[in-house]
């Protein structure tokens, strides 16, 4: 945790309200996001209990699995989920614009520009918390290798038609969410904690109710009190007033309300199956419907508060203006979405269970580059974030007190003006360290040439190195002038691309050699648990 965030947290404790740690919004928010509030069943990994899902805050779709251990009901749930999510994804897949991409020509091996489609917008999924992200990944993993009856008529437990496709999309979204700065799939608690510091621990910040209580406490109460109420307060029946954002449910709810309701449902189902005549069956069907409705009501009562909280959180985020570089990062999200759309359309197989050595290394390199890029862009977009970097000695701001023209050595001396900056910051500058400032959105590099006077006086002499044009005289406006306010960073603003890794077919012996002919991934084997 950086010093400035520690400070903001201390202030939050002192004032009883969350403190902003950003002045702009650093993540893209879609005009029409799809919010997904899932619940799972205790004791079984990834068994959905129900969900609220939809794009309309007033009319969420309620999906419920009345007996979570019943595979047929679970498939029915996933099919319903696919019916909501896939049309939403499709709504963005069709609207495209022309764009250019550089590709390696397979014949000549040269880099050439090709005209491709880019979706004008990408669908955005919002889940309440980080655990929700994990569930999205788990659902994706559990669905994408399922076979439908159409794909394989002999498959013992065929999945409904669109379920494997939903699995592939959720997998793609889950993977993309691991890329720093991406916004295709967001966990609301993480986005909120990026913008506000509360007076509670990072672990408690994962409780959406408590987090919102700190950021926007109800009238007449401090954030700390409201957060404590959100976490702990229970009604006369021992139920939490603010249900956790899930996907896990509160044990008191499981034991006292859910388990008896599922039990009643099971009994009603057994009774229906044992009915001997139509009249009796009618009566028992009514009882089964009542039992199912009871479970639906229970699930809705536990997801609806979270649903409303998610939209409230989105409202709070929308009060912040979007950061300048957010659009650029969202464009990369659109590329990611378009790329997966194309892979699905081209009939490619689902994502493999495990990355091969080259894919894993490429993903890691991309994410490291995006992380560095995100950190630089957030600082450039937001003076408060930059203040944190300045406090950490990674940037400095000040006023130009002097600018002297000088020239480099060589046959054609190029301008290397010396600029003196007075700053109260204490940057960790080594001799000849490179520093950068944003000049019309492009980074201009300078070199630390030493202190004028004692280091404590804060007079830094910088030698400007580039972005001054080709001539002997620097282009107007390209060199800071006396009286200018400037802000230099010690970190680079743009990231260099890494080296190209070998193709997977050329994996070297140190990494196990080539993976061999790509065999289509077998569907998941049916285990005993599947036929419980």
């Amino acid at each position: 945790m950086s010093l400035i965030v520690t400070l903001a947290r201390l202030e939050a404790v002192a004032t009883g309200r969350a403190r902003p740690i950003a002045t702009v919004r650093h993540r893209h928010l879609s005009q029409r996001p799809l919010v997904f509030v899932p619940l799972t069943t205790a004791g079984e990994a990834g068994a959905p209990l129900g969900a609220l899902v939809g794009t309309d805050r007033d009319a969420p779709r309620l999906l419920v699995v009345p007996q979570p251990r019943d595979r047929d009901l679970r498939f029915a749930f996933l099919a319903e989920l696919a019916d909501v999510v896939l049309p939403y994804l499709d709504s963005c897949a069709e609207s495209v614009e022309a764009a250019e991409r550089t590709e390696t020509d397979p014949e000549t091996g040269k880099r050439v520009k090709v005209e491709v489609e880019l979706c004008t917008d990408a669908p955005q999924l919002i889940v309440p918390s980080r655990a929700g992200l994990d569930l999205v990944r788990l659902l994706g993993r559990s669905m994408r290798f399922r076979r439908t009856a159409e794909q394989d008529p002999d498959t013992p437990y065929p999945a409904p038609p669109r379920v494997p496709l939903l699995g592939r999309w959720l997998t793609h979204y889950g993977e993309r969410a691991r890329v720093p700065g991406s916004s295709l799939l967001l966990a609301l608690t993480e986005v909120l904690s990026r913008h506000w510091a509360t007076g509670q621990s990072g672990l408690e910040d994962q409780h959406l109710g408590a987090l919102l209580a700190w950021i926007d406490p109800p009238e007449g109460s401090t954030g700390a009190e409201a957060a404590e109420r959100a976490e702990l307060a229970r009604d006369a029946d021992g139920q939490l007033l603010c249900p956790p954002a899930g996907p896990a449910t509160d044990p008191a709810f499981d034991n006292r309300l859910l388990a008896p309701a599922i039990e009643r449902y099971d009994r009603a189902r057994t009774a229906l199956a044992a009915a001997e005549d139509a009249l009796e069956a009618d009566d028992r069907l009514a009882r089964l419907s009542a039992a199912e409705r009871e479970i639906r009501d229970l699930v809705e009562s536990r997801t609806r508060p979270t649903w409303d909280a998610v939209w409230r959180g989105l409202d709070l985020l929308r009060t912040l203006p979007e950061g300048a570089h957010v659009e650029e990062r969202w464009t990369r999200d659109r590329w990611s979405f378009t790329g997966h759309r194309d892979r699905v359309l081209a009939g490619e197989p689902p994502q493999p269970r495990r990355d091969d050595a080259v894919t894993a290394a490429n993903k890691l390199a991309t994410r490291e580059r995006e992380q560095a890029r995100l950190e630089a862009q957030e600082a450039l977009d937001d003076p408060l974030v930059m203040a944190g970097r300045r406090l950490a000695g990674e940037a400095f701001a000040g006023e130009v007190t002097d600018a002297v023209m000088a020239y480099g050595e060589g046959r054609r001396p190029s301008p290397r003006p010396l600029v003196t900056v007075r700053t109260e910051d204490r940057p960790h500058l080594a001799e000849r360290a490179k520093v950068y400032r944003s000049l019309g959105g492009r980074p201009q590099a300078a070199e630390f040439a030493g202190y004028e006077g004692a280091p404590e006086e804060g007079l830094l002499v910088l030698r400007i190195l580039d972005k001054m044009g080709r001539g002997r005289e620097p282009e107007p406006g390209s060199v800071p002038e006396k009286g200018d306010a400037v802000c230099f960073t010690l970190f680079e603003h743009e990231q260099r691309g890494g080296a190209k890794l070998p193709d997977p077919e050329e994996t070297p012996w140190t990494h196990g050699g080539p993976p061999g002919e790509a065999a289509p991934e077998a569907p998941d084997a049916v285990t005993e648990e599947d036929v419980l």
């Binding site: 691991r178 993903k363 890691l364 390199a365 204490r426 280091p455 890794l501 140190t510 990494h511 196990g512």
Partner: protein, 445 residues
Amino acid sequence: MTTAGFDPGAAAARATDAILRDTLHGTHRGVVVDSPPGAGKSTLVVRAALELAGAGRPLMVVAQTNAQVDDLVLRLAEKAPDLPVGRLHSSDADAYDKALDALDNVRTSAKAGDLNGLPVVLSTAAKWAHVKADEPWRHAIVDEAYQMRSDALLAVAGLFERALFVGDPGQLDPFAIVGSEQWAGLTYDPSASAVTTLLAHNPDLPQHRLPVSWRLPATAAPLVSDAFYPYTPFRSGTDHDDRRLTFAVPSDGSGPDRVIDEAAASGWGLLELPARHTPRTDPEAVRAVAAVVRRLLDRSGAAVSERAPEPAPLTAGRIAVGTAHRDQAAAVRAALAERGVTDVTVDTANRLQGREYDVTVVLHPLSGRPDATAFHLETGRLCVLASRHRHACIVVCRAGVGDLLDDYPSTEPVQLGTLVKFPDGWEANHAILAHLAQHRVGWQP
């Protein structure tokens, strides 16, 4: 510590011979050499390079940083002034040490094509990753292979047929700035070390170990060996009376002076500040570090060692300060500048790897912390900080680290399929602390 009959020189020579035999005449594609701190790893690399070049095998050398590459080039040139050597460098300004320009046999270039046909070409892993070769090199030496990430090896492994991997398993593991849990347990986890991946895929490769540390004094080798290399012990190449650190100016009785005397006598000193939770750049601890360094210089130290018959003066260049974080290093540098000390190296553990000094002053990674994170507990970090010295190591720390260790058992999630590294940071920290406790001096300015 040297037992009768143990001849460190002979033991080291036997190990080196076996390594060279496997490298030059073995049938395996790779040879792995584990080298504890100061065991002559660079000497081995230079020797192997000369032998491979002598055998007419085109050789590429992969190191991790430009400083390491330049250092190897200089050592090669010193041993074999006539051997043509290529130094491949990046196209940045100041990409390599300008001292190389003075060497006639060294050709430098940013393009691998310009260095074609030279018997030995050296560069960093990052630069090699950009090289495209029609024909692979017959042999490679990968230096600091335990600090190289698996994905960096993936990028360069296509360039060579066979390789000698040399490194210190006890130093800092490579790291990634983003989470890489999703690949944990895979043999080719891109964030793991190059050697881990190499051995997972090629378990039959011959593995050697250099048995003698020439850097660490007899006071330090047993402790470092027990704490960080419990299953692959090593010895010190020198005996207790081979090295001596003396000061012309007597102690003034202050904490810094007493800890200096303690360290001069026993090889270790712990300057303990009162327990307190502090920010990372704990001003009192930083001042204490600076005070110790100032007194080390003021008291005109002299170091006697097996290298020379005459005592060598303890100058600023022979002292280093090690910290865990960069801001701590910056704070120490500022505090030293206030006391008029400029030429003492102050750096983080990451940057001190592979370096050697007479005396080191270490700001303990856990000093003043309320928590013991995986970063601060990392075995390699403490190992680097505790194994840079030829004579003495002085640790500056707040009291209460032992309790902190006990209050914070490791909370890292267990990953299936990964090799658990022993000893863990908790164990190693306790081992070091227990030893330091015998050399404790309280802080009185």
